[in-house]
Amino acid sequence: MKAILALSDGTVFEGQQFGATGETVGEVVFNTSMTGYQEVLTDPSYKGQIVTMTYPLIGNYGCNETDIESIGPQVEGFVVREYSAYHSNWRSKWSLDTYLTENGIIGIQNIDTRALTRRLRVQGVMNGCLATEDTDGNIDVASLVAKAQSWHGLVGWDLVQRVTCPNTYAWNQHPSSSIDGYKDSTPSENGKYRVVAMDFGIKYNILRQLTEHGCEVQVVPAKTTAEEILAAEPDGVFLSNGPGDPEPLDYAINTVQELLGRKPIFGICLGHQLMGLALGGKTYKLKFGHRGANQPVKHLATDQVEITSQNHGFCVDIDSMPNTVDITHINLNDNTLEGIHHREYPAFSVQYHPEASPGPHDARYLFSQFTKMMGE
């Protein structure tokens, strides 16, 4: 079946449909990771986005029950050069096609994904509309372009409300399986630290990592107040990743401000941006973001470089950081801010994803840093 991806600048890519059928709009972004499409699909930070994989063969190893980062796929649409109908892996349970179909996600294949990526790199990310042909075999291309153009986009939109948990829950799941390689990380004492994790769209692997590092985790909705959190008497508070623009999330920014200095805080990705805003900094939208598993980040304290997993379109302005914080990490590709540590308060955050999934495990030490902070 024919499918079309229309961009707001009028560019149209024609390909074939896989997964679900229908029509969807979102911000079109690209991810350069060569593995981990199932983790990408299920990462709530992609809410509102149509994701293009730059690696051309997708679906090779199918999908399984464990390599998930949330309850199911979160992306608005999925764009690949070649979808592999055959899936080969001892853990594979479904084909990617089945997985997307069952979860109502539209996929398009057989388009020049590199041409699309280059367009996004040069012009910046833009909105797009992805649609499959109707029962009569028609697609109205002009209307798709118009829909892409008229879509409001991510800026100023509180997307977190679409992915945060409705109610507080305790995370009981232990590391998914021995295959993820976490079995040999620091032996931990179960439940030594009580952590409240603010869910802005949290990835399961963060929760798995916290558990693995000896934390007992309560996951709370994004609008939970500082008061409510403090009432749970946690040893530390975790600020999760999440989709979209951090600026409209004034409720969360307030909460972070109130918690600063009162509890050890660790933030990742959106959590880092909220921390930055709470400290008086500014955020801005990157031209095409950082999405992939090969971003070099320098840890300034050790001069070591970590290869990191990233997924963000917004960024904390490095020049807007007050002198109450130390810059701890920077991105070597474009020198953007990757990590901060408060000079007085036990609070730190990183823009990238130490929980990886998908991506390298180089930055796992940050979870130990958090538990150490809670132990002090």
């Binding site: 060569m34 063969l57 090779n60 590709n333």
Partner: protein, 1078 residues
């Protein structure tokens, strides 16, 4: 950390002659290292015996020693140069082994030379099986069950625990030489014995077989600050059990989830840290159980490897260059990524295409050997291809091999019985992938094919898709559409587009449709289906690429923006094969360098990932593409160069020359018509008649009926060969009618389209090679090389000496005159090589090749003039006069070129030398004394001439007279003589003491007993035509197995004896090329 300032002079060791398992990739890595370190201001001392390398060009190092890569010679270099550091990790196993030897013997300590990159304990830990296994267990990683054996008894004790099938891996052997898989005790004992004798430390690793498991490799780099990055991941299509060098491989990994990949990545990082490779690149291999995902570590190379070269070309990340910079103190984040220019090298490349590497073998030259692919590498070269999908890359890769496939073609034997087919699937072999196609076409299921091959179903499915598409073409119905090409027929346009997206070549479609390739191309263009070019940029388009490194894929957007500069396109030599290898790449690289200096934009086209020519900074633009007419024309039409050079890449581009010219491509240099005149028997005869030169009497036959009377009128022996071949493919000396008949009917299947050339064989003639350059007005001899072996041994397999060591001035003058006349008659613009035979004072022309020859780099280094560079500039219009090369150089020293053979990889194959080339590489020995130069060359080949001991002599009757002098000299030098009956009698009569041995089957002891008792140090054994061949073959085979120097010609033996004499008289000294060229 910035670069180190406490070291100034660095010794780099190369990898020597091209052998199986160690090819151009180490020239690529060594060249990068020399360039990178020189750029940093270090003085470079280089040792490499291989003259065909770019790295041994005198401008790449400050002091270039073309000397044997042995511990004692390198010690002489160290003594003379006093380097501060030795970089051991860029010259393959050869450099690593010599460095270890120098470290262990205390030489490095004595001269205060620091090992940089990898220290001795790290190398030992990675290379010694027991230490490696222990290290892996210490960091909690699994390795296959295994044990170490030093004796047969120890090996037998181990087998109970490990069980069959079991893998035997000898320690410290190249490409796993002597290793294998044993399925029963008998086979096991045999392999253990061979393995023990081949391992220099008599050590074997006996290992649990993980045959059929998935095989993966990671290319890892580490810097002095302990940053570790993975440059590239590789998945082998052929599962465990086939050496990775013999496997079709794919980058990146296709069938692991991120979870599994990250576990492997974590392991790789732990391994490089635990082994303790300080800085640089390493290659780590893993096996994964397809049923459970269990991962085990197979091995680690603590150095840059063949896979590193592949990984560099696959990603655009220059591993060797970066490794060199890390070795002198830089950290990864201090080095920029050349491709993007704006981001640092400290990252992990991500690719947005699929890379396929396919090996190329040469079994046709080693008939009689077992062609099963095992854990011991046997391929002689490889092609790499880049495509948008696996299917496209696979088909491009298959046509890049230049073995006649135009893609994923049908196997000519696809109708073989099912039982035979299943064994072709089960037992790994060169054409297995095509047998898979046969199986798919017959409807065999992917599951069944998997159960035979253990090739991951993902790959099988992709092959199935190609097969299914072929079926869906409905050829009878669509043929008229292809013939007419109506762009309005959107359905057919989309079908053809799909074919191109699946990687089908025009040639393949032309075969399927049975229409001409030109027609397919024409229609395709009418339909508006053009290929597009994309950039290899290390980052999947996340950043803008500064470096123009391209591949083709059928997609919607073309990224190439041709400049309006004057451009010259150079066609490379494709995958290495016997007869066409590094020498031609050397010439192509020189052309690119020279034309760049003249202000042209240079465009390189090649498909060989091991080479310097496919480095992104060798030319201005690099197209990593198959060298077929279609692919080259596409690039031509895109770039519109003012000239295309076809005479530097060996036979590959020459074969395309005519078709390209017909398509309007401006070929510069000698015209394709003149090239054809030299290759066409009849036309060439006319050329020679015109200028009055002689050829050995000859004729052409298209059947055995024609051949037999021709041969008897010429008189046996005759040399027979198919027309248009390289490396003497299928060329033979025939002594009689019956073998001639066999040859015509079976070996070459002669036909009117494929005539066979029959020449009178000039026995005992001196063969001479002449390399020459001409600009159309002036012709200057580059070098005259006198072969040591008589004519009849392929020039690539002969030792040769420059300048001639027995020819007199008159003969040399005559050779020059003849060569000038030939250059003029053939309108040569650029290089030409002529082979002559001199018999009874008469000079015969054997062959003329109006192109760069295999000897161009050797001659260039011998005379100190870069002939290929001059030739490229001449082709672009310069005169020799303006380039300042007008007179011949006769150096006041001797350069000897000696071939290196792969017979140790092909037990059972006929190892006798003849007109068909069998050597994989060559070395050079230079000295003011011709005998010392010969001795150096022998040593560089790995055959150190003995200074004392027992010499076994057995020669044919014809040689009995001339062997007397040789034998006498050997006894004078203190050798004991051993001889068979006939030879012994002659020697006794001439007053020499001889121990008599029996010919095989005539009594004991035979020479075999002596060899087995290590009581033979030198063998002189000349072949007796076709009689007694088995006996001689056995002797040769044993000599190869026991590393005993063997000489099968009288001139070769004489040269060896003189060389021994020279060695006895005094020590070998070492001198850099720069001093010779002064």
């Amino acid at each position: 950390m910035p670069k180190r300032t406490d070291i100034e002079k660095i010794l780099i060791i190369g990898s020597g002659a091209i052998i199986i398992g160690q090819a151009c990739e180490f020239d690529y890595s060594g060249t990068q290292a020399c360039k990178a370190l020189k750029e940093e201001g270090y003085q470079i001392v280089l040792v490499n015996s291989n003259p065909a390398t770019i790295m041994t060009d005198p401008d790449f190092a400050d002091r270039t020693y073309i000397e044997p890569i042995t511990a004692d010679t390198v010690e002489l270099v160290i003594d003379k140069e006093r380097p501060h550091a030795l970089l051991p990790t860029l010259g393959g196993q050869t450099a690593l082994n010599v460095s270890v030897a120098l470290a262990e013997s205390g030489v490095l300590e004595k001269y205060n030379v620091e090992l940089i990159g990898a220290k001795l304990p790290a190398i030992q830990k990675a290379e010694d099986r027991a230490l490696f296994k222990q290290a892996m267990q210490d960091i909690g990683l699994d390795v296959p069950k295994s044990g170490i054996a030093h004796t047969l008894q120890e090996a037998i004790a181990l087998i109970d625990e490990i069980g069959f099938p079991t893998i035997i891996r000898p320690a410290f052997t190249l490409g796993g030489t002597g290793g294998g898989i044993a399925y029963n005790i008998e086979e096991y004992q045999k392999m253990v014995s061979t393995g023990l004798s081949l391992s220099p430390i008599n050590e074997l690793l006996i290992e649990e077989s993980v045959i059929g498991w998935k095989e993966f490799e990671l290319e890892v780099m580490r810097d002095g600050a302990d940053n570790v990055v993975i440059i590239c991941s590789i998945e082998n299509v052929d599962p465990m059990g086939v050496h990775t060098g013999d496997s079709i491989t794919v980058a990146p990994i296709q069938t692991l989830t991120d979870k599994e990949y990250q576990v492997m990545r974590d392991s790789a990082i732990k391994i490089i840290r635990e082994i303790g490779v300080d800085t640089g690149g390493s290659n780590i291999q893993f096996a994964v159980d397809p049923k459970t995902g269990k991962q085990v570590v197979i091995e680690m190379n603590p150095r840059v490897s063949r896979s590193s070269a592949l990984a560099s070309k696959a990603t655009g990340f220059p591993i060797a260059k970066i490794a060199a910079k890390l070795a002198v103190g830089y950290n990864l984040d201090e080095i920029p990524n050349d491709i993007t220019a704006e981001t640092p090298a400290c990252f992990e490349p991500t690719i947005d295409y699929v890379v396929v590497k396919i090996p190329r073998w040469a079994f046709e030259k080693f008939q009689g050997t077992d062609e099963t692919l095992t854990t011991q590498m046997k391929s002689v070269g490889e092609a790499m291809s880049i495509g948008g999908t696996f299917k496209e890359a696979l088909q491009k890769g298959l046509r890049s091999l230049e073995t006649g496939w135009s893609g994923y073609d049908n196997h000519p034997l696809e109708e073989i019985p099912l039982s035979e087919l299943s064994s072709k699937l089960t037992i790994p072999n060169v054409e297995r992938i095509f047998y898979i196609k046969s199986a798919l076409k017959r409807g065999m299921s992917i599951d069944d094919i998997y159960s035979y091959t253990h090739i991951d179903p993902f790959f099988l499915y992709n092959m199935q898709e190609i097969v299914d598409f072929e079926k869906s073409l409905n050829i009878t119905q669509t043929r008229p559409l292809l013939e007419n090409g109506n762009p309005a027929d959107t359905e057919f346009v989309s079908l053809m587009r799909q074919a191109k997206q699946l990687g089908f070549s025009d040639r393949q479609l032309s075969d399927l449709y049975d229409v001409s390739e030109t027609k397919v191309r024409e229609t395709r263009k009418d339909l508006g289906i053009e290929t597009t070019y994309k950039t290899v940029d290390t980052c999947a388009a996340e950043f803008e690429a500064e470096t123009p490194y391209y591949y083709s894929t059928c997609s919607s957007e073309d990224e190439v923006r041709p400049t309006d500069k004057e451009k010259i396109m150079i066609l490379g030599g494709g995958p290495n094969r016997i007869g066409q290898g590094i020498e031609f790449d050397y010439c192509c690289v020189h052309a690119a360098m020279a034309l760049k200096t003249d202000g042209y934009e240079t465009i390189m086209v090649n498909s060989n990932p091991e080479t310097v020519s496919t480095d992104y900074d060798t030319s201005d633009r690099l197209y990593f593409e198959p060298l077929t007419c279609e692919d080259v024309l596409n690039i031509y039409e895109k770039e519109k160069p003012i000239g295309v050079i076809v005479q530097f890449g060996g036979q590959t581009p020459l074969n395309l020359a005519m078709a390209l010219k017909e398509a309007g491509v401006p070929i510069i240099g000698t015209s394709p018509e003149d090239i054809a005149r030299s290759e066409n028997r009849q036309l060439f005869k006319e050329v020679l008649d015109e200028i009055g030169l002689m050829q050995p009497p000859n004729s052409t036959a298209t059947s055995s009926e024609e051949a037999i009377p021709i041969a008897s009128s010429l008189g046996y022996p005759v040399i027979v060969r198919p027309s248009f071949v390289l490396g003497g493919r299928a060329m033979q000396i025939v002594y009689d009618e019956q073998p001639l008949q066999e040859y015509m009917n079976t070996a070459v299947k002669a036909s009117p389209e494929h005539p066979v050339l029959i020449d009178k064989y000039l026995e005992e003639a001196i063969e001479v090679d002449v390399d020459v350059i001409s600009d159309g007005h002036l012709t200057v001899i580059g070098g005259i090389m006198e072969h040591i072996e008589e004519a009849g041994v392929h020039s690539g397999d002969s030792d040769c000496v420059l300048p001639p060591y027995t020819l007199v001035d008159d003969q040399i003058e005559q050779l020059k005159e003849y060569t000038y006349a030939l250059a003029e008659a053939l309108n040569v613009r650029g290089l030409m090589n002529v082979q002559y035979a001199i018999k009874n004072e008469e000079i015969y022309v054997l062959e003329v090749n109006p192109r760069a020859s295999r000897t161009v780099p050797f001659v260039s280094k011998a005379i100190g003039v870069p002939l290929a560079k001059l030739a490229a500039r001449v082709m672009a219009g310069k005169t020799l006069d303006s380039l300042g090369f007008t007179t011949e150089i006769e150096p006041p020293y001797f350069s000897v070129k000696a071939p290196v053979f792969p017979f140790n990889r092909f037990p059972g194959a006929n190892s006798r030398l003849g007109p068909e080339m069998k050597s994989t590489g060559e070395v050079m020995g230079i000295d003011t004394d011709v005998s010392r130069a010969f001795a150096k060359a022998q040593k560089a080949c790995g055959y150190s001439l003995p200074l004392k001991g027992n010499a076994f002599i057995s020669v044919r009757n014809k040689d009995k007279r001339s062997v007397i002098f040789i034998a006498k000299k050997l006894t004078d030098m203190g050798f004991e003589l051993i001889a068979t009956h006939g030879t012994a009698k002659v020697l006794l009569r001439n007053g020499m003491d001889v121990q008599l041995v029996y010919s095989i089957g005539k009594g004991r002891p035979t020479i075999h007993d002596y060899i087995k008792n290590h009581a033979v140090d030198l063998i002189v054994n000349t072949p007796t035509g076709d009689i007694h061949r088995t006996n001689e073959l056995l002797i040769r085979q044993m000599a190869i197995e026991h590393d005993i120097p063997i000489f099968s010609t009288i001139p070769g033996a004489a040269a060896a004896v003189n060389a021994i004499d020279a060695l006895q008289r005094g020590e070998i000294s070492v001198t850099p090329l720069q001093d010779y060229h002064k």
